[in-house]
Amino acid sequence: MKFGNLVIAGLVTGSIYAVFAVCVSVWYRVSNILNLAVGDFAMCGALGVDNLVRVRNWPLPLAIITTLAVVGIFAFAYDRIVLRLAQDGPRRQEGIVITFFFTFALSFFIDGVAKMLFGSDVHAAPALWNGQSLTWASLNLPRAGLLVLGCALIVGGAFWFYIRFTLGGKAMEASGENSLGARIVGIDTRRYRMLIFIGTAVIAAIFGIVESPITGYTYLSGATISLTGFLAAAYGGFRKPGRALLAGLFIGILEALLGGYVSAEYGDTVMYAILAALVLIMPRQLGFESAVGG
């Protein structure tokens, strides 16, 4: 059952990528800004809870609530101070500067602060669901992995439902498609940008807390997570959260199978080669042309 176990491991890793890809694409859809700091919010969640529990002996529920509140307030302040000036102010920025620059800088800023606060060792938040792996027909189902997978499906499903079946979700899409056209019908585009930014930052932090017992985090882990989430989001043209979720799961399974059957050492290299080849062979079907062409 090596194949089955590899697929389960891949689904768990893939669901992490998927959630970050969904966070990146949902916020891009509303703001036209790529959130390159989404992984850093996950790192803050994991290391923040670890620090409060392990070093300061806070009870776990209080540590989680406090960490999520701090992440949410920080995201709110960042939107109010930086993004408002950058996107709404009289000297607003456009093009690649606004698309990449401000969240890239935010990622470096968070990494620097995290290094000061949490040091450079590998840590993880306490596991939320303790115990041995569940087994079913010789398949190993790690509890933390199941938790991550379950959360990914809930987040993906919730966003899909929100966008597809609510007027608020459609208004969110309209905000990113045409800000002027959205304001004409009374949509508060700035409010949507702020709410989705805070929401995705908090979701990323929750995932950091849930997932960190599997992989462990350092202050630099955020950048790697952001990169893979970014890659999966790119497969959805940065605008299709559902497709980004599937791409994240696919990348996770591909990574696990290549690591198991091809080479543990060069698995990642082969995976990126396959992903690049896919982009070259069918850019339109994968949404890359629409991403580049807007």
Partner: protein, 246 residues
């Protein structure tokens, strides 16, 4: 680049003395709009009575659209704008939409990746957050029924529709917001004559149903087939005048 404000003054600030405060839908006093140092509109004063169809006409680049942009709050302005007696917030197009003045802008400003249906239903956002209420509402049904030719294309992405169909979606979206005043900016720009006629037929129907209309048009002849009132704009200065339907 700097342009001096035009020296002429509005010749007739309110040529319709019959309009009482009770039936004034829109009152514009001393409206000026500038883009940097360039003055696009200078000291425009006019009123639109409830039930009127008002044409804002004038040559291209003379400030017609800027008047509408300033009135609806798409750009910041100087001067006062009252919508049914309430002082309109400066630079806040959302406020205008929620208080009964909806703009159908030049170049339509649709959401190209969303379906035509979603574009229209988003007009309802001006008065509800419930998609169920929006779907079963009168304004939404009215907007869809006014354009039977759109029905086969409602699931199609708005960006893939023809220019005429996009204009119809834009007007339908405006209607779904349940406006008391519908302001339409250059509704026939770039459209074939037959499509332009169809657009004007629909605007006439909307007016007949009791909605106050403001139409910005370069060609006064076409506008005056529909409108009973005209604001002529020359060099950024609005001259209010009464015009019977031609």
């Amino acid at each position: 680049m700097t342009s001096e404000p035009p020296s002429e003054q509005t010749p007739d600030p309110d040529p319709d003395p019959g309009a009482t405060e009770a039936n004034v839908a829109l009152a514009v006093t001393g409206l000026s709009v500038s883009y940097g140092n360039v003055v696009a509109v200078h000291d425009a004063t006019f009123t639109v009575t409830e039930g009127d169809a008002c044409a804002i006409t004038g040559p291209n680049g003379n400030g017609k659209s800027s008047i509408l942009m300033g009135v609806t709050g798409m750009v910041r302005r100087r001067g006062d704008v009252e919508i049914f007696g309430a002082q309109a917030r400066n630079g806040d197009v959302r406020w205008a939409a929620r208080h009964g003045l909806t703009l159908v802008p030049e170049r339509r400003q649709l959401y190209p990746d969303l379906s035509a249906y979603d574009n229209v239903i988003l007009g309802c956002y001006a008065w509800t957050r419930s998609i169920g209420k929006a779907r079963s509402s009168g304004p939404f049904s009215r907007a869809i029924e006014l354009f039977p030719e759109l029905k086969p294309h409602l699931k199609q992405a708005a960006g893939t529709l023809s220019g005429g169909q996009q204009q119809m979606v834009a007007i339908a979206r405006g209607l779904a917001s349940d406006p008391k005043i519908l302001a339409v900016d250059e509704p026939c720009l770039g459209l074939a004559e037959s499509v332009a006629r169809r657009v004007y037929d629909v605007l006439a129907k909307i007016h007949e149903q009791g909605t106050t209309l403001i139409v910005v048009e370069e060609a006064p002849k076409r506008a005056l087939t529909l409108c009973n009132r005209r604001v002529e704009v020359r060099n950024g200065v609005a001259a209010n005048s009464r015009a019977g339907a031609a």
